[in-house]
């Protein structure tokens, strides 16, 4: 399976990074094991996909790692690197790129079903982003997600529980599907005839969340996750109409492998973590974890003074007002236990789940499908075992996983071309011997249009695009002081980016407003306290009535519609969609291209084409603006004036959109399109390139 070229790459990778040597060996081992696994099932004679050429590899890896196509400068830089080293150098650079955390936050936000609209949603998003940025190990992150207590102000990972109202049944199903790759939810209602999970086991798993309580503070308008005394999860289930129901004893249904001899990967993990401890890293991590999980410090007593004075004040105020007996920040012993077992290095489900999900994201198919439905079998057992061992031994470092996969020969293979028959293609793909065509995920498609079209910055001088726009506005029939009411809803205070008015302006569906993750990741305790100006009941009631009255009046008002003309300098800039409040409004570009709504388990990214997608690409604002050639763009001077060089311009356009040079026929075709009006012609050419299949689908 290892081609001469890959061997070359691996060798150079070894030469380049002493520290990373093990990584590349690991990738070579993956290819060898894939071949062995294929042999075991008699699948070794399949058609091999060609090895991607250097530029195609650059495109694919850049799209996968940082969520956009490479820029012209990046292409040139890459091509200046020594040919034998450039792929390894590229992977190195990409893993350090800021875009890495952006792109993979999207992946983890899908997995964890993060919704900006949910309480603490944006904080959770920023937390995940920061975790990826700083290389937080996946097991540490998982423990923080499962075991956190308190409010999102202090413990942002608590948003994970809040999203499901800390409901034990929901959380049990989520724990199985998200962290273990197992669908246990069916067992919530019945013993599934073909499933190994019994209903009792599901209830026992839910039991770990059975003492978790949510308390809403009227003062801070925040919800606190804390631990109560009473077990809410009872057995047998109510629908069996039992005479009596008992509190379940929480029990972890997944096997923790227990071997007499300590496996090698475990020894390596232990020595790695011990080393980290030496460097005091572990300590800092533990501190951070304590701060997140316990919030109230190390003491067990609910009455004791928490570490942060502000927290104490807030908590006390809440307790007084709401007459809450328990500590709002009480640490959950049960969930801490559960988190330890889920992330136990000898719980194979945990490592396999993420290995399989990442592999599926990068290779187009997992070792078991669907990726949340492990049934005891994988297509390539030796490969999976190896990847799991290495992932664990390397401290659940997700970057390690990416590096390993990106350096495999399997990743660098192109799909079979049209001549291969369907059966040959299927067999080859099943063996990971050729690439599976993947479409860019919606955020990547959007950002790639922005990069290809130089839309991050103004590409026109001020006033170059002044234009009259017609806009429909709603006008009240009864005369009013304010004569024109714009046909859009009022922005909600504080979070304008999260509202999508029901009456969007044209092209609002492609608008992106980025969140400030750094600000969101910082503790918002201050902000909490600022908002804690307590309102009396009367004040609250008065506010509510005023709101009702306003609604009533606006409902009774009669409107008509008029078209008004506005003059606008239409010179837009586009931001990255990676940091947008998420998920976007349902009719937004990102959603139309398959961003999930994240409101339930069992929902995946949708990659099927639709007419709406086609319309948004053919006639959308982003594509249109990306196509137009602005004077501030480098390509402009190749099209007009003294530096005019149309052949070079066409080459640049191809490089900037498709990361490759045009062949002779394409060059000739493009020159005809450029014709007598190169600026317009170039816009036409780029519009077509952006809409082409080749742009949207990875090499």
């Amino acid at each position: 399976m290892v081609t001469p070229r890959t061997t070359r790459i691996l060798t150079c990778a070894l030469m380049l990074h002493g520290a990373a040597a093990g990584v590349s060996l690991s990738a070579a081992r993956v290819d060898a094991l894939l071949a062995a696994d294929n042999r075991d099932v008699g699948n070794e004679g399949v058609a091999l996909g060609q090895v991607l050429d250097d530029l195609a590899f650059l495109r694919k890896a850049t799209i996968d790692m940082v969520g956009r196509i490479p820029t012209h400068a990046e292409i040139l830089q890459y091509q200046q690197w020594p040919q034998t080293k450039r792929r390894a150098m590229l992977v190195d650079r990409l893993l350090k790129d800021d875009g890495f955390a952006d792109r993979w936050t999207v992946f983890f936000a899908d997995l964890l079903r993060i919704r900006s609209r949910a309480e603490g949603g944006n904080r959770l998003l920023a937390y995940v982003h920061q975790s990826i940025e700083t290389g937080k190990p996946w097991d540490v992150m998982t423990r923080e997600l499962i075991a956190a207590s308190g409010s999102t102000g202090k413990a942002p990972s608590v948003g994970f529980l809040l999203a499901d109202d800390s409901d034990p049944m929901e959380m049990a199903a989520a724990t199985g599907q998200i962290f273990m790759g197992v669908r246990m939810a069916c067992a919530q209602c019945h013993n599934h005839p073909f499933d190994k999970w019994r209903q009792k086991q599901f209830y026992e798993l839910a039991g770990f969340f059975g003492k978790t309580r949510q308390i809403e503070s009227r003062l801070s308008k925040k919800t606190y996750v804390t631990e109560g005394e009473e077990m809410k999860v009872l057995w047998p289930p109510e629908r069996r109409k039992p005479k009596q129901r008992f509190a379940v004893a929480p029990k972890f249904p997944f096997p923790i492998e227990d071997s007499a001899v300590k496996p090698d990967y475990l020894k390596r993990l232990e020595s790695l973590r011990a080393g980290e401890l030496d460097k005091n890293k572990k300590q800092r991590e533990a501190d951070a974890l304590d701060a997140l999980i316990d919030s109230a410090g190390t003491t067990e007593s609910p009455k004791a003074e928490p570490t942060a004075l502000d927290v104490a004040r807030e908590a006390k105020a809440d307790i007084r007002k709401l007459n809450v007996q328990s500590d709002l920040y009480r640490r959950s012993k049960l969930r801490t236990e559960l988190a330890q077992m889920v992330t136990h290095p000898q719980n194979r489900y945990f490592a396999r789940n993420l290995v399989n999900r990442v592999w599926a994201e990068l290779l187009g198919r997992g070792f078991y499908m669907p990726i949340d439905d492990y049934q005891g079998e994988v297509t390539h057992p030796k490969t999976v075992e190896h990847l799991c061992d290495e992932f664990i031994a390397n401290g659940y470092d997700v970057r390690f996983l990416f590096r390993t996969i990106l350096e495999t020969a399997a990743y660098a293979r192109a799909p079979l071309d049209a001549e291969a028959g369907n059966n040959a293609r299927k067999a080859s793909q099943a063996a990971f011997a050729s690439g599976i065509t993947r479409r860019m995920v919606s955020e990547v498609l959007y950002d790639s249009i922005v990069i290809a079209g130089h839309l991050q910055d103004y590409k026109w001088p001020k006033g170059a695009n002044v234009r009259e726009f017609e806009r429909r506005v709603r006008v009240p029939l009864e005369p009013e002081p304010e004569a024109l009411v714009p046909a859009e809803a009022e922005p909600e205070p504080g979070q304008p980016e999260m509202k999508m008015t029901t009456k969007p302006k044209p092209y609002d569906l492609e608008k992106v407003i980025s969140l400030d993750f750094d600000k969101l990741a910082a503790s918002d305790l201050e902000q909490d306290l600022g908002r804690m100006k307590a309102m009396s009941d009367q004040e609250l009631e008065a506010k509510r009535m005023a709101e009702m009255d306003r609604k009533k009046k606006s409902l009774r008002r009669r409107y008509t519609y008029k078209t008004v003309t506005e003059e606008v300098d239409d010179n837009p800039r586009f931001s990255s969609s990676m940091r947008m409040a998420t998920p976007a409004a349902p009719s937004h570009f990102l959603r139309v291209f398959g961003q999930p709504s994240r409101d339930g388990l069992g929902e995946f990214r949708e990659h099927t084409p639709s007419m709406r997608q086609a319309l948004m690409m053919l006639n959308g604002k982003a594509t249109h603006e990306a196509s137009r050639v602005g004077p501030y763009e480098p390509i402009h001077r190749l099209l007009t004036g003294e530096g005019r060089n149309l052949v070079k311009a066409v080459e640049r356009a191809y490089l900037e959109t498709l990361t490759r040079r045009p062949n002779a026929d394409e060059q000739a075709e493009a020159l005809v399109v450029l014709g007598q009006a190169p600026l317009e012609g170039m816009a036409d050419l780029r519009w077509a390139l952006l809409n082409s299949h080749e742009f949207r689908y990875l090499p």
Binding site: P609, K621, D684
Partner: protein, 406 residues
């Protein structure tokens, strides 16, 4: 209307195509207009008034054009069309929370963490051919449920504000027709080369979607979305509100061949101040509903167009301390008209305070099965999800309300 738009498909006027279509299944419904009322609409203040009881609240019950059927006084116009409508007053849902109830009322299934079920509109367009260039399934003023395992091709086409021009249906500003067509030609050449080189099926599916998009952009049928040229009297009859315009647009869409139109409306979660809120709803909804049903009947489209109004549940007969009503899933009502049902009748009945049904209990999934039945779709048809798991179009155990049709 159809003559006016002059829409043609493959050179055949839409009207004739529709006629041909209707002949094939003479008695069956061909289209659905679904009013989705988000929040849980009070049944007592709409279709199941209890005059003389303390639960009745602030509205009276009024007589209608259907003998012996009374509805709430907030619907005086609709009351004159009740001989075309049937009421089901004994719907029993199983979910009292918005998200879960919405899912059940829109898909017939309960929330399942392992599967997304398609909404009713997606089911219908999956089973029925498209007529003409317009999308088969259009949602107005809000989103329709997801297409689930039927995929994006069964997703609803979204119209924000009825009467607004969708910017995505025309070449961008500054790109005139001829230039736009040249661009499309260039793109077609590029993509043809890509398809020739790659065996990727996704390319072909993308190509199909693009062709549909271009056909829609160029379709004369698009005129139907323009309400500015409507007779002002017609607009006035529907009530010149977003809701009224939505209902008018729905009628025009159905007349142009669209299979399923969903009109969304929110604001029914009246935990407080139920009565002024419902009065406002009546002011907007009543003229629109009355005019829609009347026009469909006059134009002869009512028998082939099923009009249905759903909400996630009803509201408590008891009026709470905030003059509101809370969630009530154990008994609520549903309005149905057209599509081959016989109007002027009531199915099922609730007790004296509309707390529980006393006859002919109807499950939410029975309503979906009824829609399928009207359209000649086998609601028990087995379908396969994208993971090759078998499922049924409508949840197992659902039965159409057959007596509506005889």
């Amino acid at each position: 209307m159809l003559q006016a738009t002059g829409a043609t498909i493959l050179g055949m006027p839409v009207a004739r195509l529709l006629a041909a279509h209707n002949k094939a299944a003479a008695t069956k419904a061909e289209h659905v207009i679904l009013f989705w009322n988000g929040g849980g609409m009070s049944h007592i203040d709409t279709w199941d008034p209890k005059p003389g009881r303390p639960v009745q609240g602030e509205f009276s019950a009024i007589n209608t054009s259907a003998d012996g059927i009374q509805i709430s006084s907030i619907f005086p116009n609709l009351a004159r069309q009740m001989h075309h409508c049937a009421l089901v007053r004994s719907v029993v849902g199983s979910n009292g929370a918005h998200a879960r109830a919405t899912y059940e009322l829109q898909t017939s299934y309960n929330v399942d963490p392992t599967l997304i079920h398609p909404g009713l509109g997606s089911i219908v367009v999956h089973e029925k051919d498209r007529i003409g260039d317009l999308p088969s399934f259009i949602t107005i003023n809000g989103q329709a449920p997801k297409p689930g395992y039927f995929g994006q091709s069964c997703a609803a086409y979204y119209v924000g504000e009825p009467g607004d021009t969708d910017p995505y249906l025309a070449f961008p500003a500054g790109i005139h027709e001829a230039r736009g067509n040249e661009r499309l030609d260039l793109l077609a050449r590029m993509n043809a080369r890509a398809i020739k080189q790659s065996g990727n099926a996704a390319f072909k599916a993308t190509e199909t979607a693009m062709k549909e998009a271009v056909a829609l952009m160029k379709s004369p049928a698009l005129k139907v979305f323009d309400l500015d040229k409507e007779n002002p009297n017609t607009l006035a009859r529907y009530g010149d509100t977003d809701f009224g315009r939505g209902a008018l647009l729905a009628r025009k869409l159905v007349e142009t061949g669209v299979r399923f139109v969903q009109i969304n409306r929110g604001g029914f979660d009246t935990h407080s101040n139920n009565f002024p809120a419902m009065e406002n709803h009546g002011l907007e909804m009543d003229p629109a509903l009355g005019a829609l049903i009347e026009d469909l009947a006059v134009n002869g489209k009512l028998s082939s167009t099923l009009v249905l109004m759903l909400s996630e549940f009803g509201r408590t007969p008891r009026i709470n301390n905030n003059a509101g009503r809370d969630h009530h899933a154990s008994c609520f009502s549903c309005l149905i008209a057209g599509g081959g049902i016989k109007g002027g009748r009531v199915i099922g009945a609730s007790d004296k305070d509309a707390m529980e049904p006393i006859s002919r209990q109807v499950k939410p999934s029975d309503l979906h099965a009824t829609v399928c039945h009207a359209l000649g779709i086998d609601h028990e048809k087995e379908v396969y999800t994208s993971q090759d798991r078998p499922s049924m179009l409508i949840r197992e155990g659902a039965e159409p309300i057959r007596e509506l049709f005889v």
